[in-house]
């Protein structure tokens, strides 16, 4: 197990290196001269040139990259152009907010997805199966920004049940309850699509497994249906489900951007969006890098869990250890 994870970690290093190159190059795709924003409209060319030098923009790209990477590795993500503060200070707290939204949404999506999927798989092709799957397919294809608008229209504007924006009551809130109230709508919106995808994969995997011979054997042994679903089917259906769940969590990290924008959730997606609008390249780089890192970590975790679930890998590790 540990050997497997170590192997994966080693494989991750070149990927991370490539990620850093892409993130770095993104900055140089962007049109516009950052010194104009930094120095203000009255700045002379001399002042701008000074700035360019102080930002190292006068150097060759590879040199700039190596310096940049060196800083990143030391935890220095540079200074935000729009906000003039450490990108790390901007990005990490926002990432925590995003993690709160993404993880709670993922949890909700997994729970809904699991129950809906198992519910449907337990009675395949029945009327209730078709209804559940039809609804999930609809919700799964609904653009999140559109769904969010409908939710806010209904819950906040028409019924006035929940706050529409932000993470806490800005006029003086805070505390877990306040955050929770603000979390509900973005969480519902974010969870909709992954819940549907999880439900569909759970159903499909369960059906696949339920049609396996060993399930029939288990039934012939007189094992209770509930136990078969829980023990035999779910346990075997788990690897693809875990993979999809992990992927969904990864997509949530990137995809919450829409939801964060609509609900003004102070997350990294919202930060990224504002940075894009302000052409704040260091912040764009920092936010993108952090999300990509999180995505890589989630993928690693998925691989590790699946390795743990695969008896062949587990057994070979055991054999190797003994």
């Amino acid at each position: 197990m540990l050997r497997f994870i170590a192997g994966r970690l080693v494989l991750t290093i070149p990927v991370l290196f490539g990620v850093s190159v892409i993130v770095f190059l993104l900055a140089h795709l962007a049109p516009g001269d950052v010194t104009t924003i930094l120095a203000g409209p009255f700045a002379t060319e001399v002042v701008k040139e000074k700035l360019r030098i102080s930002f190292g923009l006068d150097q060759a790209l590879p040199v700039q990259y190596i310096k940049w990477l060196g800083h990143i590795l030391q935890g220095d993500f540079g200074t935000s152009i729009a906000n003039r503060r450490d990108v790390a200070d901007l990005v990490f707290p926002k990432f925590v907010n995003t993690a709160i939204l993404a993880l709670s949404s993922a949890l909700l999506a997994y729970i809904i997805g699991f129950f809906a999927g198992i519910f449907a798989a337990a009675r395949p092709y029945s009327f209730s199966d078709r209804i559940v799957m039809g609804v999930t397919l609809m919700l799964g294809n609904a653009p999140p920004y559109w769904l969010g608008l409908l939710i806010v229209l209904l819950i906040s504007l028409n019924w006035r049940l929940l706050p529409a924006t932000g993470m806490t009551n800005i006029m003086g809130g805070g505390g877990a309850w306040d955050v929770f109230l603000h979390l509900i709508q973005p969480m519902l919106t974010t969870a909709a699509a992954p819940a549907c995808i999880v439900a569909r994969i759970v159903r499909a995997s369960m059906l696949e497994i339920l049609s396996q011979n060993y399930v029939r054997v288990a039934r012939a042994k007189g094992i209770r249906r509930s136990l078969i679903l829980r023990r035999h089917a779910l346990r075997n259906a788990l690897p693809p489900i875990v993979t999809i769940c992990g992927l969904q969590l990864g997509y949530l990290l990137g995809g919450v951007l829409f939801v964060e924008v609509i609900f003004a959730w102070p997350g990294i997606g919202n930060q990224l969006w504002q940075a894009i609008q302000a052409r704040d390249i260091p912040t764009i780089q920092g936010a993108t890098l952090v999300i990509a890192l999180a995505f890589v970590v989630v993928n690693l975790a998925v691989d590790a869990i699946n390795a743990y679930l695969d008896p062949k890998i587990r057994a070979s590790e055991r054999a190797g250890a003994s």
């Binding site: 200070d89 901007l90 990490f92 906040s156 003086g172 805070g174 924008v261």
Partner: protein, 529 residues
């Protein structure tokens, strides 16, 4: 360094984790006066007045800081904002308008407790104009150049007295210090020396009616009432600026009662909001106009008939009423509203597509002509530029719109138009007519100013030179209007389009909000019910 960053990250995680256990320990202290939240359309820049730009940032700076003088923004009926004393309790101008003597107010303290005196004022002026000073800040010097270029010297003439001598007579100079980009305000020297320029811009310390409390980037800027303010304390307890870049989110927020004021609500929704009980306030005297620059270096545009024809071809009413739904007003003059020189209804020509066509034919373009037109991508301007494109099409002018991302645009704009380009655009204005000079004078061609279309008429410059020497505002206004009548009425050197009255939506609990002839507001006079 990296350890520190990592610790911060850990801290953030710990905070997030502890949220789960905090369990409704919300500390909602309703102080007297209440909290006013402004849902802004974007995040502000840094809060160092000497290097800050942009009107949202200006709003925060004017709440936290004060200059020697400030604009009085409390009169709802004012056509242009008068000066009021601030750090200087009074000032005197000598006979020829070159020496300004300021009496510094006693008992003014910064939010950090530092007292204000003549040395503090001098220290601040050194920061943004004396490159030899130890604490000189070269970025500040770039930002404030438009103001400091007139200054010959700043002298401390007593513990509470400062004398500023100008190079030449300028009666507008004092007001040049209250425009929105690079503001000669008085900041706490103690704070700047302790924190350094970078940190000060994030945690500013001034003397204003509100003091900086905290700022979470892209989430909120929190300011509290300065209880030790030298003047009348603000009515509200707490002032929060909340960036809500998404228009619909802002609307949702004010409807849900989460903010007290929003800007840039959809024009179509204003009527509904009024019906729902919200106050919609429109800035009739906003010192800002939207205009097209003609490139006077371009052979086609050098023909006054072409420039006049374009002025006649633009259907300004269609933009003001049709697109902006009454939140715009057609304008043709180069003197913006909100200044004492503004002349309402100035219109040397009328909307006349037929006449424009005839003029173009006369100029040698009976079959029309093609023009290149730089526009920037920011806000809604494309909507009206498209409308102008259609107007021009009607008179045979094919305008090609080159849409350019804002920062790139600014870079290109500030260099002045290259010869092959025909037009570009900007929306801008100051509270003083001097802005018109910056846009039109021969010696304000880039890189010395913003006359990016290379317009030049020495006759106009002479009138301007006279205008700043007038102590009497009425006389100055007359000279400005005379210049304006040459720039537009005779030369048609620009095509001014309209002024956008920037509607604000206020929640019903907000009282005494004044929408003044400026781009920023006095939050200390607001009351909440």
């Amino acid at each position: 360094m990296s350890k520190l960053k990592f610790k911060r990250l850990l801290g953030a995680v710990a905070i997030a984790g502890s949220l789960a256990f905090a369990g409704g320990a919300a500390t909602e202290v309703k102080a007297e006066g209440g909290t006013f939240v402004w849902g802004m359309s974007s995040e502000m820049s840094i809060l160092d007045p000497h290097v800050a730009c942009g009107w949202l940032t200006t709003n925060a700076i004017h709440s936290i800081f004060e200059g020697l003088v400030m604009l009085d923004l409390s009169d709802p009926d004012a056509k242009s904002a008068p000066l009021k004393p601030a750090i200087a309790k009074s000032w005197e101008v000598n006979e020829d308008g070159t020496v300004y003597t300021f009496a510094i107010r006693e008992n003014v303290r910064f939010h950090d407790g530092t007292a204000v005196d003549a040395d503090v004022v001098k220290w601040n002026y050194d920061r943004f104009m004396d490159s030899g000073a130890e604490h000189a800040f070269d970025q500040a010097q770039a930002y404030l150049g438009y103001y400091t270029r007139w200054i010959k010297s700043v002298e401390v003439t007593g513990p509470m007295s400062v004398k500023i001598t100008l190079n030449e007579t300028n009666y507008e100079w004092l007001q040049m210090g209250v425009v929105a980009c690079g503001m000669p305000m008085i900041a706490s020297p103690t704070a700047i020396q302790e924190m350094g320029n970078e940190q000060f811009a994030l945690t500013p310390v001034g003397t204003g009616p509100f003091k900086f409390i905290e700022r979470e980037q892209n989430i909120k800027l929190v300011m509290d009432r300065n209880e030790d303010y030298w003047g009348e304390n603000a009515k509200i307890e707490r002032l929060i600026f909340q960036p809500l870049p998404d228009q619909a989110t802002r609307l949702n927020a004010i409807r849900a009662g989460e903010v007290s004021m929003i800007m840039e609500a959809p024009w179509e929704e204003l009527e509904n909001l009024k019906n729902e009980g919200f106050t919609v306030t429109i800035n009739e005297n906003i010192p800002s106009i939207w205009l097209l620059f003609f490139n006077h270096k371009n052979p086609i545009m050098q023909d006054v008939r072409v420039r006049k024809a374009i002025n006649m071809a633009i259907d300004r009413d269609a933009i003001a009423d049709g697109i902006l739904k009454g939140t715009g007003r057609p304008e043709m003059g180069m003197l913006s509203p909100g200044t004492y020189a503004y002349k309402p209804g100035y219109a040397p020509v009328k909307y006349d597509p037929e006449g424009a066509k005839a003029l173009l034919a006369e100029a040698g373009y009976p079959d029309g002509l093609d023009l290149d037109f730089d526009i920037y991508e920011y806000g809604y301007n494309e909507v009206w530029e498209k409308s102008i494109q259609r107007d021009l099409k009607k008179v045979g002018v094919n305008a090609k719109l080159n849409k350019i991302e804002w920062i790139t645009y600014m870079g290109k704009f500030l260099k002045g138009m290259p010869e092959e380009l025909h037009m570009n655009e900007i929306g801008w204005g100051w509270t003083i007519p001097f802005w018109t000079q910056v846009m039109t004078r021969c010696d304000y061609h880039p890189p010395n100013g913003f006359n990016v279309g290379w317009y030049c008429n020495p006759e106009v410059d002479k009138l301007f030179d006279e205008a700043v020497k007038q102590k009497d505002k009425a006389k100055a206004a007359a000279l400005y209007q005379q210049a304006n009548d040459i720039i537009i009425g005779q030369d048609f050197g620009y095509a001014v389009k309209f002024t956008y009255k920037n509607p604000l939506v206020l929640s019903p609990s907000v009282k005494h909000f004044v929408n003044p002839p400026a781009n920023w507001y006095d939050f200390s006079i607001i009351e909440l019910e």
